[in-house]
């Protein structure tokens, strides 16, 4: 079962990488780029039987290992289906 995890900085946290990308885009002529937020993306291949189990495990793993809950939030999707 594949789980996709997206980890992003919380909206209130300043994202200097994203700002740098916006500035690079403006200097390349993409003036329409208002804002960019950078995050991390993980594809977990889990050996579990059900989507519910995969979701539970992916959320636990995200909370414990992949994200820093103080400044980051995460979203989990199982097998391409938005949860």
């Amino acid at each position: 079962m594949k789980a996709r995890v997206f980890v992003t900085l919380k909206p209130s946290v300043f994202d200097p990488q994203g700002r740098a990308i916006v500035e690079a885009l403006h200097s390349l002529g993409y003036g329409q780029a208002n804002d960019v937020r950078q995050g991390k993306y993980f594809v977990l291949d889990l050996n579990v039987a059900s989507a519910a189990e995969a979701e539970k495990m992916a959320k636990e793993i995200s909370d414990r290992v992949l994200a820093n809950p103080v400044i980051e939030s995460f979203t989990v999707e199982i097998d391409g289906a938005a949860k």
Copy 2:
């Protein structure tokens, strides 16, 4: 218009970060984790009128700035709708 961009290493490229995460998960008791691939995730806020235009621009930006086409591939989704 929001575009979500996922950049991942091509399947043939070895992903040492992902391997390190798998080993960390195993040592934490998540033996069901077969494989992990780590990538980058970007949320672009583009000031364009149509979804088609947003998709075109996001793909161009991904190819030129966000991904290294030699070793990485990318996927673009507009406003939560898979393209």
